[in-house]
């Protein structure tokens, strides 16, 4: 007797498109670095199950960082929306006058220099990140033929760390300059936000420098290449995101007060 159950459809019918995956760029086609099952792409009929390897671990770390940065973005979104609310908040005083006490805080010019330094540090960070994945060097290290990756990455990571510290020093200088003008954290509503925004961003960057330091140490301390790659890669993405945040925050402070 046939079952009277109508199976409820939980399977999607995948449309198989005939595509030669050639976007005309002329470079050699990409190597499939996936080592085994990762639960994504749902391509189980075509690929054998394998152990999850370095590529999958890297993918996990990046995804975790992505979600963490998504949360961090909401944190900054909240602060920025508070910024706009405070900017527009006014009250009618006892004498029926419209009072808005927002006196824009002039951005110390050194902040422009700091921005340039941070952008430069993103460039060096990206170069460092790419050295970690150079195929020839990865193969050499895997085969035990020295440590070309460490040799290549070290100067760029160091440069990023130095530039990052330079940025923080520049921020400190900006705070000192404002302090000389008697503009402190608690001085007025716009200075609240100037300091709050720059403090929280600097704190995040400080954590980034900590991550850079950990990467530098791990370059020498860790025996697993994948650990070193993951650490530098995630630090790099974190660093770029902090740079991107800074661009938004700086534009906010410089032009939207």
């Amino acid at each position: 007797m046939p079952s009277t159950i109508t199976p409820i459809n939980t399977e999607w019918e995948k449309k198989r498109r005939l595509d030669d995956h050639d976007s005309g760029h002329g470079r050699r086609p990409p190597t499939d670095k996936r080592t085994g099952g990762g639960g994504d792409n749902d391509n189980w009929n075509d690929r054998p199950q394998g152990r999850r390897g370095p590529r999958e671990k890297l993918s996990r770390a990046r995804l975790g960082l992505f979600f963490a940065l998504a949360g961090d973005t909401m944190f900054f979104v909240a602060i920025v929306s508070a910024f706009f609310v405070a900017q527009g908040t006014s009250h009618i005083d006892a004498y029926n006058r419209y009072i808005n006490e927002w006196f824009p805080t002039a951005v110390p010019p050194i902040l422009w220099l700091n921005t340039a330094v941070l952008l430069l540090s993103s460039v060096t960070m990206e170069i460092a990140r790419r050295t970690m994945f150079r195929e020839n060097d990865v193969m050499d290290e895997w085969l035990g033929l020295g440590k070309p990756i460490t040799r290549r990455a070290l100067p760029w990571l160091t440069a990023t760390t130095v530039l990052g510290l330079l940025f923080l020093a520049g921020q400190a200088e900006a705070w000192r300059q404002l302090g000389l003008q008697h503009v402190f954290f608690a001085s007025n509503p716009s200075s609240h936000f100037f300091y709050l925004i720059t403090y929280t961003h600097a704190f995040h960057l400080f954590l980034g420098i900590g991550a850079l330091g950990a990467s530098l140490i791990t370059l020498y301390a860790s025996r697993q290449l994948e650990t070193r790659q993951i650490l530098v890669d995630c630090t790099a993405w974190y660093w770029h995101t902090m740079g991107l945040f800074w661009i938004f925050l700086f534009v906010l402070l410089a032009f939207f007060q």
């Binding site: 009250h91 009618i92 006892a94 029926n96």
Partner: protein
């Protein structure tokens, strides 16, 4: 029928002009959700008790059709509710409304009448001192302050539109008169207006409905609705007593 139903659900008797419509809509909602809850539970119990049969399969009849009906029902209720909301909140009071200022502070309500000059005097926090008889901080130097009348009981005439300006001196307070179906938070730094018309003379409770500290539960006052001529007499008598 309305008063009887109201008693069942313990709604206090209404004394405002916008109240009956609100009560009617509230009771309608309550009956509907009572019906829906009962029906859903009957379905649940029926489904559990009836003899076993094969699994239902038709997504449209079981899910989408009821959802469409519920959507229509909830939209209808929401539209009616928004109509009522718009009537009381979207526009301000008419220019002829009686203006009264309400100030909430830890833990009392004070009410200020503008007096014959129909203008409130300015207030400043630095003048606020209850022991000195100036709890809401009226500026003595302002000529408009001279005829302002501050009371701790809100007296209003019946059948006249009243516009209340809500102030809070320290923390957020909630100005609520359940029997007039009124509720609005008084937020420090804001002037919030609500307007209404009381229909039945009597004494009603003003409660604080936003947690404001240890005295939150006893931060209440009396709202006394009186006939218009009695109101005039009361105001005149109080003005005379305050400013001979």
């Amino acid at each position: 029928m309305l008063p009887a139903l109201s008693t069942i659900v313990l709604l206090p008797a209404d004394a405002s002009a916008h109240g009956p419509a609100l009560d009617h809509h509230l009771l309608l909602n309550l009956w509907i959700i009572l019906g829906l809850a009962a029906f859903a539970h009957v379905l649940l119990l029926a489904g559990l008790s009836l003899r076993r049969s094969s699994q239902p399969v038709h997504l449209w009849t079981i899910e989408y059709l009821p959802l469409a009906l519920l959507a229509i029902l909830f939209s209808a209720l929401a539209v009616r509710a928004e109509q009522l909301w718009a009537e009381t909140r979207y526009t301000g009071s008419s220019p002829e409304a009686t203006q009264i200022e309400v100030t909430g502070l830890q833990f009392a309500w004070y009410f200020r009448y503008p007096g014959p000059d129909a203008t409130f005097g300015t207030t400043q926090p630095r003048f606020a001192s209850a022991p000195e008889g100036n709890p809401i901080g009226i500026d003595p130097a302002d000529p408009h302050s001279a005829d302002d009348l501050v009371t701790s009981e809100l007296v209003i005439p019946a059948d006249r539109e009243i516009d209340l300006t809500l102030h809070a001196q320290d923390v957020i307070h909630g100005f609520a008169v359940p029997e007039l179906r009124l509720k609005q938070n008084a937020v420090p730094g804001e002037n919030i207006h609500i307007h209404f018309t009381a229909t039945r003379p009597g004494i009603y409770a003003i409660l604080c409905t936003q947690l404001c500290g240890t005295g939150h539960y006893r931060m209440n006052a009396n709202l006394r609705v009186v006939a218009p001529d009695e109101f005039q007499a009361w105001i005149a008598a109080r003005e005379k007593a305050a400013h001979p």
